[in-house]
Amino acid sequence: MPEKQYFFDKPKNVNRVLYGFYVICGLLVIADFIVHRHIGLDWERIPAFYAMYGFVACVLLVVLAKLMRKLVMRKEDYYDE
Protein backbone atom coordinates (compact mmCIF):
# COMPACT_ATOMS: atom_id res chain seq x y z
CA MET A 1 0.00 0.00 0.00
CA PRO A 2 1.54 3.34 -1.00
CA GLU A 3 1.94 5.75 1.89
CA LYS A 4 -0.38 8.72 2.22
CA GLN A 5 0.86 11.86 0.45
CA TYR A 6 1.50 14.71 2.87
CA PHE A 7 1.48 18.43 2.15
CA PHE A 8 5.21 18.96 1.62
CA ASP A 9 5.62 15.72 -0.32
CA LYS A 10 4.49 17.62 -3.39
CA PRO A 11 7.23 19.91 -4.70
CA LYS A 12 4.49 22.18 -6.02
CA ASN A 13 3.37 22.96 -2.46
CA VAL A 14 6.92 23.62 -1.31
CA ASN A 15 7.37 26.06 -4.17
CA ARG A 16 4.07 27.78 -3.41
CA VAL A 17 5.18 28.39 0.17
CA LEU A 18 8.55 29.66 -1.00
CA TYR A 19 7.06 32.04 -3.60
CA GLY A 20 4.70 33.41 -0.97
CA PHE A 21 7.71 33.96 1.24
CA TYR A 22 9.66 35.79 -1.49
CA VAL A 23 6.68 38.05 -2.21
CA ILE A 24 6.41 39.01 1.47
CA CYS A 25 10.14 39.76 1.57
CA GLY A 26 9.77 41.99 -1.49
CA LEU A 27 6.79 43.83 -0.03
CA LEU A 28 8.66 44.46 3.21
CA VAL A 29 11.49 46.15 1.34
CA ILE A 30 9.07 48.22 -0.74
CA ALA A 31 7.23 49.24 2.43
CA ASP A 32 10.48 50.67 3.71
CA PHE A 33 10.29 53.40 1.05
CA ILE A 34 6.61 54.15 1.55
CA VAL A 35 6.29 54.20 5.31
CA HIS A 36 7.77 57.10 7.23
CA ARG A 37 10.10 55.58 9.80
CA HIS A 38 11.34 57.44 12.84
CA ILE A 39 15.03 57.05 13.38
CA GLY A 40 16.81 56.19 16.62
CA LEU A 41 20.33 55.46 15.41
CA ASP A 42 22.15 56.71 12.31
CA TRP A 43 22.37 53.22 10.86
CA GLU A 44 18.62 53.11 10.54
CA ARG A 45 18.77 55.81 7.85
CA ILE A 46 20.13 53.26 5.39
CA PRO A 47 17.26 52.00 3.22
CA ALA A 48 16.17 48.46 4.12
CA PHE A 49 18.83 48.43 6.84
CA TYR A 50 17.16 45.71 8.86
CA ALA A 51 16.61 43.48 5.86
CA MET A 52 20.24 43.66 4.79
CA TYR A 53 21.51 43.35 8.33
CA GLY A 54 19.38 40.28 8.99
CA PHE A 55 20.53 38.56 5.82
CA VAL A 56 24.21 39.38 6.23
CA ALA A 57 24.16 38.55 9.94
CA CYS A 58 22.76 35.08 9.33
CA VAL A 59 25.07 34.25 6.44
CA LEU A 60 28.01 35.40 8.56
CA LEU A 61 26.75 33.42 11.53
CA VAL A 62 26.49 30.21 9.54
CA VAL A 63 29.80 30.62 7.73
CA LEU A 64 31.65 31.38 10.97
CA ALA A 65 29.92 28.53 12.80
CA LYS A 66 30.89 26.18 10.00
CA LEU A 67 34.51 27.28 10.30
CA MET A 68 34.26 26.88 14.05
CA ARG A 69 33.43 23.23 13.52
CA LYS A 70 37.01 22.65 12.39
CA LEU A 71 38.16 23.93 15.75
CA VAL A 72 35.67 22.48 18.18
CA MET A 73 34.03 19.44 16.60
CA ARG A 74 34.95 16.03 18.01
CA LYS A 75 33.59 12.52 17.84
CA GLU A 76 30.48 11.77 19.91
CA ASP A 77 32.43 9.75 22.50
CA TYR A 78 35.17 12.38 22.85
CA TYR A 79 34.71 12.84 26.58
CA ASP A 80 34.32 9.12 27.27
CA GLU A 81 37.77 8.11 26.05
Binding site: L28, G40, L61, R74
Partner: protein, 570 residues
Protein backbone atom coordinates in the same frame (compact mmCIF):
# COMPACT_ATOMS: atom_id res chain seq x y z
CA UNK B 1 -3.05 36.18 59.59
CA UNK B 2 -3.20 34.30 56.30
CA UNK B 3 -1.13 37.00 54.69
CA UNK B 4 1.83 35.94 56.81
CA UNK B 5 1.95 32.42 55.43
CA UNK B 6 5.03 32.26 53.21
CA UNK B 7 3.81 30.84 49.88
CA UNK B 8 6.62 28.31 49.49
CA UNK B 9 5.16 26.39 52.45
CA UNK B 10 2.23 25.25 50.31
CA UNK B 11 4.63 23.54 47.91
CA UNK B 12 6.60 21.98 50.76
CA UNK B 13 3.40 20.74 52.43
CA UNK B 14 2.30 19.23 49.14
CA UNK B 15 5.67 17.46 48.93
CA UNK B 16 5.06 15.97 52.36
CA UNK B 17 1.58 14.79 51.34
CA UNK B 18 2.88 13.25 48.13
CA UNK B 19 5.38 11.36 50.23
CA UNK B 20 2.60 9.98 52.43
CA UNK B 21 0.01 8.96 49.83
CA UNK B 22 0.35 6.69 46.82
CA UNK B 23 -1.24 6.48 43.41
CA UNK B 24 -3.48 8.94 41.65
CA UNK B 25 -4.17 11.01 44.77
CA UNK B 26 -0.60 12.33 44.73
CA UNK B 27 -1.26 13.83 41.29
CA UNK B 28 -4.01 15.92 42.82
CA UNK B 29 -1.52 17.42 45.26
CA UNK B 30 0.98 18.02 42.46
CA UNK B 31 -1.58 20.04 40.52
CA UNK B 32 -3.06 21.75 43.58
CA UNK B 33 0.25 23.17 44.83
CA UNK B 34 0.83 25.76 42.07
CA UNK B 35 -2.87 26.64 41.80
CA UNK B 36 -3.34 27.15 45.55
CA UNK B 37 -0.08 29.07 45.84
CA UNK B 38 -1.10 31.34 42.99
CA UNK B 39 -4.50 31.98 44.57
CA UNK B 40 -2.93 32.54 47.99
CA UNK B 41 -0.59 35.17 46.56
CA UNK B 42 -3.42 36.74 44.56
CA UNK B 43 -5.86 37.01 47.46
CA UNK B 44 -3.81 37.30 50.64
CA UNK B 45 -0.49 38.86 49.84
CA UNK B 46 -0.05 42.57 49.28
CA UNK B 47 2.94 44.70 48.49
CA UNK B 48 4.67 45.56 51.74
CA UNK B 49 3.76 42.36 53.57
CA UNK B 50 6.53 40.79 55.63
CA UNK B 51 7.13 37.68 57.68
CA UNK B 52 10.16 37.79 59.90
CA UNK B 53 11.74 35.19 62.15
CA UNK B 54 14.75 35.30 64.44
CA UNK B 55 17.69 33.01 64.25
CA UNK B 56 20.21 33.56 67.06
CA UNK B 57 20.26 37.35 67.16
CA UNK B 58 19.41 37.85 63.53
CA UNK B 59 16.12 39.11 62.20
CA UNK B 60 15.49 37.15 59.02
CA UNK B 61 12.73 37.53 56.46
CA UNK B 62 10.85 34.70 54.78
CA UNK B 63 8.50 37.13 53.11
CA UNK B 64 9.27 40.50 51.61
CA UNK B 65 6.75 41.55 49.01
CA UNK B 66 7.22 44.10 46.26
CA UNK B 67 6.31 44.18 42.57
CA UNK B 68 9.55 42.47 41.53
CA UNK B 69 9.10 39.47 43.82
CA UNK B 70 5.38 39.23 43.03
CA UNK B 71 5.97 39.07 39.29
CA UNK B 72 8.46 36.23 39.62
CA UNK B 73 6.25 34.39 42.10
CA UNK B 74 3.31 34.45 39.67
CA UNK B 75 5.61 33.41 36.86
CA UNK B 76 6.88 30.42 38.85
CA UNK B 77 3.33 29.34 39.73
CA UNK B 78 2.35 29.42 36.05
CA UNK B 79 5.52 27.62 34.96
CA UNK B 80 5.12 25.00 37.65
CA UNK B 81 1.48 24.36 36.72
CA UNK B 82 2.28 23.97 33.02
CA UNK B 83 5.27 21.70 33.68
CA UNK B 84 3.24 19.63 36.15
CA UNK B 85 0.50 19.03 33.59
CA UNK B 86 3.18 18.10 31.07
CA UNK B 87 4.67 15.61 33.54
CA UNK B 88 1.45 14.30 35.10
CA UNK B 89 1.91 10.82 33.58
CA UNK B 90 5.26 10.37 35.35
CA UNK B 91 4.95 8.02 38.34
CA UNK B 92 8.47 8.48 39.64
CA UNK B 93 8.24 9.64 43.27
CA UNK B 94 11.73 11.20 43.11
CA UNK B 95 10.74 13.47 40.26
CA UNK B 96 7.41 14.36 41.84
CA UNK B 97 9.11 15.44 45.05
CA UNK B 98 11.82 17.26 43.12
CA UNK B 99 9.18 19.17 41.17
CA UNK B 100 7.44 20.42 44.30
CA UNK B 101 10.58 21.22 46.27
CA UNK B 102 12.25 22.88 43.28
CA UNK B 103 9.33 25.15 42.41
CA UNK B 104 8.70 25.87 46.10
CA UNK B 105 12.35 26.85 46.62
CA UNK B 106 12.23 29.18 43.63
CA UNK B 107 9.21 30.94 45.11
CA UNK B 108 10.88 30.98 48.52
CA UNK B 109 13.98 32.55 46.96
CA UNK B 110 12.14 35.43 45.30
CA UNK B 111 10.33 36.30 48.53
CA UNK B 112 13.48 36.03 50.68
CA UNK B 113 14.20 39.37 52.30
CA UNK B 114 17.74 38.65 53.46
CA UNK B 115 20.82 36.93 52.12
CA UNK B 116 20.80 34.02 54.55
CA UNK B 117 17.23 33.03 53.70
CA UNK B 118 18.13 33.45 50.04
CA UNK B 119 21.10 31.12 50.57
CA UNK B 120 18.87 28.43 52.09
CA UNK B 121 16.57 28.41 49.05
CA UNK B 122 19.56 28.78 46.72
CA UNK B 123 20.93 25.47 47.98
CA UNK B 124 17.51 23.80 48.02
CA UNK B 125 17.16 24.74 44.35
CA UNK B 126 20.47 23.04 43.63
CA UNK B 127 19.79 19.85 45.52
CA UNK B 128 16.19 19.33 44.41
CA UNK B 129 16.85 20.05 40.74
CA UNK B 130 19.70 17.58 40.26
CA UNK B 131 17.24 14.70 40.63
CA UNK B 132 15.69 15.63 37.27
CA UNK B 133 19.05 14.79 35.69
CA UNK B 134 19.76 11.71 37.78
CA UNK B 135 16.25 10.35 37.17
CA UNK B 136 17.23 9.71 33.54
CA UNK B 137 19.10 6.70 34.91
CA UNK B 138 21.97 6.57 32.42
CA UNK B 139 25.61 6.68 33.44
CA UNK B 140 26.07 9.78 31.30
CA UNK B 141 23.24 11.51 33.17
CA UNK B 142 24.65 10.46 36.52
CA UNK B 143 28.02 12.02 35.72
CA UNK B 144 26.48 15.14 34.19
CA UNK B 145 24.35 15.47 37.32
CA UNK B 146 27.39 15.39 39.56
CA UNK B 147 29.11 18.08 37.49
CA UNK B 148 25.88 20.12 37.60
CA UNK B 149 25.70 19.77 41.36
CA UNK B 150 29.32 20.82 41.86
CA UNK B 151 28.67 24.06 39.98
CA UNK B 152 25.46 24.73 41.88
CA UNK B 153 26.98 24.06 45.28
CA UNK B 154 29.98 26.21 44.41
CA UNK B 155 27.57 29.02 43.65
CA UNK B 156 26.04 28.50 47.10
CA UNK B 157 29.46 28.63 48.75
CA UNK B 158 30.16 31.97 47.06
CA UNK B 159 26.79 33.28 48.15
CA UNK B 160 27.33 32.28 51.76
CA UNK B 161 30.85 33.71 51.81
CA UNK B 162 29.56 36.90 50.22
CA UNK B 163 26.71 37.14 52.70
CA UNK B 164 29.08 36.78 55.64
CA UNK B 165 31.47 39.41 54.32
CA UNK B 166 28.50 41.65 53.57
CA UNK B 167 27.27 41.24 57.12
CA UNK B 168 30.72 42.04 58.48
CA UNK B 169 31.02 45.21 56.36
CA UNK B 170 27.51 46.60 56.55
CA UNK B 171 26.14 45.02 59.71
CA UNK B 172 23.04 43.91 57.87
CA UNK B 173 21.96 40.86 55.89
CA UNK B 174 18.98 42.42 54.16
CA UNK B 175 18.92 41.76 50.45
CA UNK B 176 18.57 44.98 48.49
CA UNK B 177 20.87 46.73 46.04
CA UNK B 178 24.37 45.39 46.69
CA UNK B 179 26.57 46.76 43.92
CA UNK B 180 30.20 45.95 43.20
CA UNK B 181 31.70 48.44 45.64
CA UNK B 182 33.30 45.87 47.92
CA UNK B 183 34.47 42.26 48.18
CA UNK B 184 31.07 41.06 49.32
CA UNK B 185 29.53 42.45 46.16
CA UNK B 186 31.95 40.54 43.95
CA UNK B 187 31.48 37.27 45.83
CA UNK B 188 27.71 37.52 45.59
CA UNK B 189 27.93 38.52 41.95
CA UNK B 190 29.96 35.37 41.18
CA UNK B 191 27.34 33.29 43.00
CA UNK B 192 24.56 34.84 40.92
CA UNK B 193 26.75 34.62 37.82
CA UNK B 194 27.22 30.87 38.10
CA UNK B 195 23.49 30.30 38.41
CA UNK B 196 22.65 32.64 35.55
CA UNK B 197 25.25 30.92 33.33
CA UNK B 198 27.79 33.69 32.73
CA UNK B 199 30.27 32.85 29.95
CA UNK B 200 32.73 30.14 31.08
CA UNK B 201 30.47 29.41 34.05
CA UNK B 202 27.67 28.23 31.77
CA UNK B 203 28.64 24.64 31.02
CA UNK B 204 26.59 23.10 33.83
CA UNK B 205 23.58 24.21 31.81
CA UNK B 206 24.53 22.95 28.36
CA UNK B 207 25.95 19.81 29.94
CA UNK B 208 23.14 19.03 32.37
CA UNK B 209 19.88 20.11 30.75
CA UNK B 210 20.11 17.86 27.66
CA UNK B 211 20.80 14.87 29.93
CA UNK B 212 17.73 15.35 32.13
CA UNK B 213 14.49 13.43 31.69
CA UNK B 214 11.87 14.46 29.12
CA UNK B 215 9.84 16.29 31.73
CA UNK B 216 12.77 17.27 33.96
CA UNK B 217 14.29 19.66 31.43
CA UNK B 218 11.00 21.56 31.28
CA UNK B 219 11.20 22.20 35.03
CA UNK B 220 14.92 22.96 34.91
CA UNK B 221 14.58 25.54 32.15
CA UNK B 222 12.02 27.53 34.14
CA UNK B 223 13.55 28.17 37.54
CA UNK B 224 17.30 28.18 38.22
CA UNK B 225 18.45 30.82 35.75
CA UNK B 226 15.39 32.98 36.32
CA UNK B 227 15.90 33.05 40.09
CA UNK B 228 19.43 34.23 39.32
CA UNK B 229 18.11 36.90 36.95
CA UNK B 230 15.74 38.05 39.69
CA UNK B 231 18.62 38.19 42.19
CA UNK B 232 20.82 40.16 39.78
CA UNK B 233 17.98 42.59 39.05
CA UNK B 234 17.57 43.24 42.76
CA UNK B 235 21.22 43.32 43.75
CA UNK B 236 23.16 44.64 40.79
CA UNK B 237 20.91 46.79 38.59
CA UNK B 238 22.92 49.37 36.69
CA UNK B 239 26.34 47.70 37.05
CA UNK B 240 27.82 48.38 33.64
CA UNK B 241 29.95 45.23 33.52
CA UNK B 242 26.69 43.30 33.20
CA UNK B 243 26.02 44.95 29.85
CA UNK B 244 29.21 43.45 28.43
CA UNK B 245 28.60 40.08 30.04
CA UNK B 246 25.04 40.09 28.74
CA UNK B 247 26.05 40.93 25.19
CA UNK B 248 28.64 38.14 25.25
CA UNK B 249 26.02 35.72 26.52
CA UNK B 250 23.63 36.76 23.79
CA UNK B 251 26.22 36.31 21.04
CA UNK B 252 28.53 33.34 21.61
CA UNK B 253 25.96 30.57 22.20
CA UNK B 254 24.29 31.10 18.83
CA UNK B 255 27.38 29.79 17.06
CA UNK B 256 27.25 26.62 19.09
CA UNK B 257 23.51 26.39 18.55
CA UNK B 258 23.99 26.42 14.76
CA UNK B 259 26.33 23.42 14.73
CA UNK B 260 24.87 21.44 17.63
CA UNK B 261 23.07 18.22 16.76
CA UNK B 262 21.16 17.46 19.99
CA UNK B 263 18.14 19.73 19.64
CA UNK B 264 17.62 20.01 23.39
CA UNK B 265 21.22 21.19 23.65
CA UNK B 266 20.48 23.76 20.94
CA UNK B 267 17.69 25.02 23.20
CA UNK B 268 20.06 25.05 26.18
CA UNK B 269 22.42 27.33 24.22
CA UNK B 270 19.54 29.55 23.18
CA UNK B 271 18.47 29.74 26.82
CA UNK B 272 21.84 31.33 27.60
CA UNK B 273 21.38 33.65 24.64
CA UNK B 274 18.00 34.81 25.97
CA UNK B 275 19.33 35.25 29.51
CA UNK B 276 21.98 37.45 27.85
CA UNK B 277 19.25 39.91 26.85
CA UNK B 278 17.99 40.00 30.45
CA UNK B 279 21.47 40.52 31.93
CA UNK B 280 22.11 43.33 29.45
CA UNK B 281 18.87 45.00 30.52
CA UNK B 282 19.86 44.71 34.18
CA UNK B 283 23.28 46.17 33.40
CA UNK B 284 21.79 49.21 31.66
CA UNK B 285 19.65 49.71 34.73
CA UNK B 286 17.21 52.36 33.48
CA UNK B 287 13.53 51.87 34.26
CA UNK B 288 12.81 50.74 30.69
CA UNK B 289 15.77 48.35 30.63
CA UNK B 290 14.95 46.77 33.97
CA UNK B 291 11.33 46.39 32.99
CA UNK B 292 12.50 44.81 29.75
CA UNK B 293 14.80 42.39 31.53
CA UNK B 294 12.08 41.25 33.90
CA UNK B 295 9.40 41.13 31.20
CA UNK B 296 11.71 39.09 29.02
CA UNK B 297 12.30 36.64 31.86
CA UNK B 298 8.54 36.26 32.05
CA UNK B 299 8.05 35.57 28.36
CA UNK B 300 11.19 33.44 28.14
CA UNK B 301 10.10 30.99 30.83
CA UNK B 302 6.93 30.34 28.88
CA UNK B 303 8.23 30.15 25.32
CA UNK B 304 11.41 28.31 26.26
CA UNK B 305 9.28 25.92 28.28
CA UNK B 306 7.09 25.42 25.21
CA UNK B 307 10.10 24.68 23.01
CA UNK B 308 11.58 22.26 25.54
CA UNK B 309 8.16 20.60 25.84
CA UNK B 310 7.87 20.12 22.09
CA UNK B 311 11.35 18.61 21.87
CA UNK B 312 10.53 16.56 24.95
CA UNK B 313 7.49 15.18 23.14
CA UNK B 314 9.73 14.17 20.25
CA UNK B 315 12.20 12.58 22.65
CA UNK B 316 9.31 10.80 24.36
CA UNK B 317 7.99 9.35 21.09
CA UNK B 318 11.17 8.80 19.10
CA UNK B 319 13.75 8.17 21.84
CA UNK B 320 16.25 10.82 20.75
CA UNK B 321 16.38 14.43 19.54
CA UNK B 322 19.32 14.34 17.16
CA UNK B 323 18.73 16.70 14.26
CA UNK B 324 20.73 14.38 12.02
CA UNK B 325 18.22 11.55 12.45
CA UNK B 326 14.94 13.46 12.56
CA UNK B 327 12.77 15.13 9.93
CA UNK B 328 9.29 14.88 8.48
CA UNK B 329 7.63 14.43 11.86
CA UNK B 330 4.93 16.97 10.98
CA UNK B 331 3.25 14.12 9.14
CA UNK B 332 2.29 12.27 12.29
CA UNK B 333 2.84 14.90 15.00
CA UNK B 334 1.16 17.94 13.39
CA UNK B 335 -0.13 19.40 16.66
CA UNK B 336 3.26 19.23 18.34
CA UNK B 337 4.78 20.79 15.21
CA UNK B 338 2.30 23.68 15.25
CA UNK B 339 2.81 24.32 18.95
CA UNK B 340 6.59 24.21 18.49
CA UNK B 341 6.26 26.84 15.78
CA UNK B 342 4.36 29.12 18.17
CA UNK B 343 7.27 28.78 20.60
CA UNK B 344 9.74 29.40 17.79
CA UNK B 345 7.94 32.57 16.68
CA UNK B 346 7.82 33.79 20.27
CA UNK B 347 11.52 33.32 20.95
CA UNK B 348 12.30 34.98 17.63
CA UNK B 349 10.29 38.03 18.75
CA UNK B 350 7.79 37.95 15.92
CA UNK B 351 5.19 40.72 16.27
CA UNK B 352 2.08 39.45 18.12
CA UNK B 353 4.18 36.87 19.99
CA UNK B 354 5.57 37.30 23.49
CA UNK B 355 9.27 37.77 22.76
CA UNK B 356 8.51 40.84 20.67
CA UNK B 357 6.92 42.87 23.45
CA UNK B 358 9.64 42.13 26.01
CA UNK B 359 12.91 41.95 24.09
CA UNK B 360 12.20 45.20 22.27
CA UNK B 361 12.20 47.03 25.62
CA UNK B 362 15.83 46.02 26.19
CA UNK B 363 16.77 46.91 22.62
CA UNK B 364 15.11 50.33 22.84
CA UNK B 365 16.78 50.99 26.20
CA UNK B 366 20.17 50.21 24.63
CA UNK B 367 19.43 52.66 21.86
CA UNK B 368 18.41 55.35 24.34
CA UNK B 369 21.59 54.92 26.36
CA UNK B 370 23.72 55.06 23.19
CA UNK B 371 25.27 51.64 23.26
CA UNK B 372 25.46 51.88 19.46
CA UNK B 373 27.89 49.09 18.65
CA UNK B 374 26.65 46.78 21.34
CA UNK B 375 23.18 47.38 19.97
CA UNK B 376 24.41 46.13 16.59
CA UNK B 377 25.75 43.00 18.27
CA UNK B 378 22.42 42.45 19.99
CA UNK B 379 20.66 42.87 16.67
CA UNK B 380 23.02 40.21 15.33
CA UNK B 381 22.06 37.99 18.25
CA UNK B 382 18.36 38.64 17.55
CA UNK B 383 18.75 37.55 13.95
CA UNK B 384 20.76 34.56 15.16
CA UNK B 385 18.03 33.48 17.57
CA UNK B 386 15.56 33.31 14.75
CA UNK B 387 18.05 31.36 12.74
CA UNK B 388 18.91 28.63 15.23
CA UNK B 389 15.88 28.46 17.53
CA UNK B 390 13.16 29.90 15.35
CA UNK B 391 13.96 27.99 12.17
CA UNK B 392 16.43 25.23 12.94
CA UNK B 393 14.45 23.58 15.76
CA UNK B 394 11.12 23.18 13.97
CA UNK B 395 12.72 22.68 10.57
CA UNK B 396 15.07 19.82 11.41
CA UNK B 397 12.64 18.08 13.76
CA UNK B 398 9.40 18.35 11.84
CA UNK B 399 10.30 19.12 8.22
CA UNK B 400 13.63 18.89 6.36
CA UNK B 401 14.33 15.49 4.77
CA UNK B 402 11.92 12.69 5.62
CA UNK B 403 13.43 10.45 8.28
CA UNK B 404 10.65 7.89 7.67
CA UNK B 405 9.94 7.97 11.39
CA UNK B 406 6.20 7.92 11.95
CA UNK B 407 5.81 8.43 15.71
CA UNK B 408 2.45 8.95 17.35
CA UNK B 409 1.21 12.42 18.24
CA UNK B 410 2.27 13.59 21.72
CA UNK B 411 0.16 12.33 24.68
CA UNK B 412 -2.87 14.40 25.58
CA UNK B 413 -1.49 15.88 28.80
CA UNK B 414 1.61 17.08 26.95
CA UNK B 415 -0.53 18.68 24.25
CA UNK B 416 -2.62 20.41 26.90
CA UNK B 417 0.46 21.81 28.65
CA UNK B 418 1.93 22.99 25.36
CA UNK B 419 -1.37 24.56 24.32
CA UNK B 420 -1.54 26.51 27.58
CA UNK B 421 1.99 27.80 27.03
CA UNK B 422 1.24 28.64 23.39
CA UNK B 423 -1.90 30.50 24.41
CA UNK B 424 0.11 32.57 26.91
CA UNK B 425 2.77 33.34 24.28
CA UNK B 426 0.15 34.77 21.94
CA UNK B 427 -1.81 36.44 24.72
CA UNK B 428 1.22 38.25 26.14
CA UNK B 429 2.36 39.16 22.65
CA UNK B 430 -0.95 40.59 21.51
CA UNK B 431 -2.14 42.05 24.84
CA UNK B 432 1.10 43.24 26.47
CA UNK B 433 -0.66 45.75 28.74
CA UNK B 434 -1.37 43.02 31.30
CA UNK B 435 2.27 42.02 31.60
CA UNK B 436 3.37 45.67 31.55
CA UNK B 437 1.05 46.43 34.47
CA UNK B 438 2.89 43.84 36.58
CA UNK B 439 6.38 45.22 35.91
CA UNK B 440 8.37 46.74 38.79
CA UNK B 441 8.70 50.23 37.26
CA UNK B 442 6.00 52.40 35.68
CA UNK B 443 5.79 51.64 31.98
CA UNK B 444 5.66 54.33 29.32
CA UNK B 445 6.34 52.06 26.43
CA UNK B 446 4.28 50.53 23.68
CA UNK B 447 5.92 48.12 21.24
CA UNK B 448 3.44 48.31 18.39
CA UNK B 449 4.21 51.12 16.00
CA UNK B 450 4.75 50.91 12.26
CA UNK B 451 8.50 51.56 12.37
CA UNK B 452 9.21 48.95 14.95
CA UNK B 453 7.01 46.24 13.44
CA UNK B 454 8.39 46.83 9.96
CA UNK B 455 11.99 46.79 11.22
CA UNK B 456 11.47 43.55 13.09
CA UNK B 457 9.66 41.87 10.20
CA UNK B 458 12.45 42.83 7.80
CA UNK B 459 15.07 41.49 10.17
CA UNK B 460 13.26 38.18 10.62
CA UNK B 461 12.13 37.59 7.04
CA UNK B 462 15.57 38.27 5.66
CA UNK B 463 17.16 36.05 8.30
CA UNK B 464 14.81 33.37 7.02
CA UNK B 465 15.81 34.31 3.49
CA UNK B 466 19.43 33.66 4.45
CA UNK B 467 18.43 30.22 5.71
CA UNK B 468 16.60 29.41 2.47
CA UNK B 469 19.48 30.67 0.34
CA UNK B 470 22.18 28.86 2.35
CA UNK B 471 20.21 25.64 2.04
CA UNK B 472 19.61 26.09 -1.69
CA UNK B 473 23.27 26.66 -2.47
CA UNK B 474 24.32 23.92 -0.07
CA UNK B 475 26.42 26.05 2.28
CA UNK B 476 24.23 25.29 5.26
CA UNK B 477 26.16 22.92 7.52
CA UNK B 478 24.51 19.50 7.72
CA UNK B 479 23.58 18.15 11.12
CA UNK B 480 26.38 15.81 12.19
CA UNK B 481 26.65 13.34 15.03
CA UNK B 482 29.31 15.01 17.07
CA UNK B 483 30.34 16.76 20.25
CA UNK B 484 31.39 20.40 20.15
CA UNK B 485 34.11 21.39 22.56
CA UNK B 486 33.10 24.21 24.89
CA UNK B 487 34.51 25.66 28.12
CA UNK B 488 33.80 22.36 29.84
CA UNK B 489 36.82 21.05 27.93
CA UNK B 490 38.94 22.56 30.70
CA UNK B 491 37.59 20.25 33.36
CA UNK B 492 36.36 17.32 31.31
CA UNK B 493 39.47 16.94 29.14
CA UNK B 494 42.36 19.18 30.13
CA UNK B 495 42.06 18.52 33.85
CA UNK B 496 41.59 14.73 33.69
CA UNK B 497 44.25 14.34 31.01
CA UNK B 498 46.72 16.49 32.94
CA UNK B 499 45.90 14.67 36.13
CA UNK B 500 46.43 11.36 34.39
CA UNK B 501 49.73 12.62 32.95
CA UNK B 502 50.91 13.84 36.34
CA UNK B 503 50.03 10.51 37.93
CA UNK B 504 51.71 8.58 35.10
CA UNK B 505 54.84 10.74 35.34
CA UNK B 506 54.94 10.35 39.11
CA UNK B 507 54.49 6.59 38.94
CA UNK B 508 57.18 6.37 36.24
CA UNK B 509 59.49 8.37 38.49
CA UNK B 510 58.65 6.16 41.42
CA UNK B 511 59.49 3.04 39.39
CA UNK B 512 62.77 4.62 38.22
CA UNK B 513 63.84 5.65 41.70
CA UNK B 514 62.88 2.27 43.11
CA UNK B 515 64.81 0.37 40.47
CA UNK B 516 67.88 2.54 40.77
CA UNK B 517 67.94 2.02 44.53
CA UNK B 518 67.51 -1.72 44.11
CA UNK B 519 70.23 -1.79 41.48
CA UNK B 520 72.68 0.08 43.68
CA UNK B 521 71.88 -2.18 46.56
CA UNK B 522 72.33 -5.28 44.42
CA UNK B 523 75.64 -3.98 43.10
CA UNK B 524 76.89 -3.39 46.63
CA UNK B 525 75.73 -6.81 47.72
CA UNK B 526 77.40 -8.52 44.78
CA UNK B 527 80.61 -6.61 45.48
CA UNK B 528 80.44 -7.68 49.10
CA UNK B 529 79.87 -11.35 48.28
CA UNK B 530 82.95 -11.40 46.11
CA UNK B 531 85.11 -10.18 48.95
CA UNK B 532 86.94 -12.87 50.99
CA UNK B 533 85.12 -11.89 54.17
CA UNK B 534 81.91 -13.06 52.56
CA UNK B 535 82.81 -16.68 53.12
CA UNK B 536 82.08 -16.22 56.85
CA UNK B 537 78.81 -14.59 56.03
CA UNK B 538 76.21 -17.05 57.25
CA UNK B 539 72.86 -16.10 55.91
CA UNK B 540 73.33 -15.33 52.25
CA UNK B 541 74.64 -18.17 50.11
CA UNK B 542 74.27 -21.18 52.38
CA UNK B 543 71.06 -23.11 52.49
CA UNK B 544 68.76 -22.52 55.43
CA UNK B 545 69.17 -26.12 56.45
CA UNK B 546 72.86 -25.63 57.27
CA UNK B 547 71.99 -22.77 59.56
CA UNK B 548 69.53 -24.96 61.41
CA UNK B 549 72.27 -27.57 61.80
CA UNK B 550 74.65 -24.97 63.20
CA UNK B 551 72.08 -23.68 65.63
CA UNK B 552 71.40 -27.25 66.81
CA UNK B 553 75.13 -27.74 67.27
CA UNK B 554 75.37 -24.59 69.39
CA UNK B 555 72.33 -25.56 71.46
CA UNK B 556 73.72 -29.07 71.97
CA UNK B 557 77.00 -27.54 73.13
CA UNK B 558 75.14 -25.41 75.67
CA UNK B 559 73.31 -28.50 76.87
CA UNK B 560 76.51 -30.43 77.33
CA UNK B 561 78.17 -27.53 79.08
CA UNK B 562 75.16 -27.21 81.32
CA UNK B 563 75.01 -30.87 82.37
CA UNK B 564 78.75 -31.51 82.75
CA UNK B 565 80.77 -28.40 83.18
CA UNK B 566 78.29 -26.54 85.40
CA UNK B 567 77.90 -29.57 87.71
CA UNK B 568 81.63 -30.07 87.86
CA UNK B 569 82.10 -26.51 89.04
CA UNK B 570 79.55 -27.03 91.79
Amino acid sequence: MMSELPPFLIFFAAALLVLLVRGQLSKLFLLAAPILTGLHIWMNIQIGDAFTYSLLNLELQFLRVDKLSLLFAYLFCIASLIATIYAIHVDDLKQQLAALLYAGSAIGAVFAGDLLTLFIFWELLAISSVFFIWARGTEKALKAGIRYLIFQITSGVFLLAGALVYFKTTGSLSFNHIGLGNTAGWLIMIAFGIKSAFPFLHTWLTDGYPEATVTGTVFLSAFTTKVAVYALARGFAGEEILVYIGVTMACFPIFYAVIENDLRKVLAYSLINQVGFMITGIGIGTALALNGAVAHAFSDVIFKGLLFMSMGAVLHRVGHVNGSDLGGLYKTMPKTAALCIVGALSISAFPLFSGFVSKSMVMTAMMQEHYDYLWLLMLFASAGVFHHAGIKIPYFAFFAHDSHLRPQEAPRNMLLAMSLAAFLCIFIGSQPQFLYAMLPMPVEYWPYDVTHVLAQLQLLFFSAMAFVWLNKVGIYPPELRSVNVDAEWFYRKLLPVSARNVIMTLSDDKAYIKSSITNTFNRLRNGFSQMSIARYHLSESWPTGSMVVWISVILAAYLLLDSFVYKTIQ
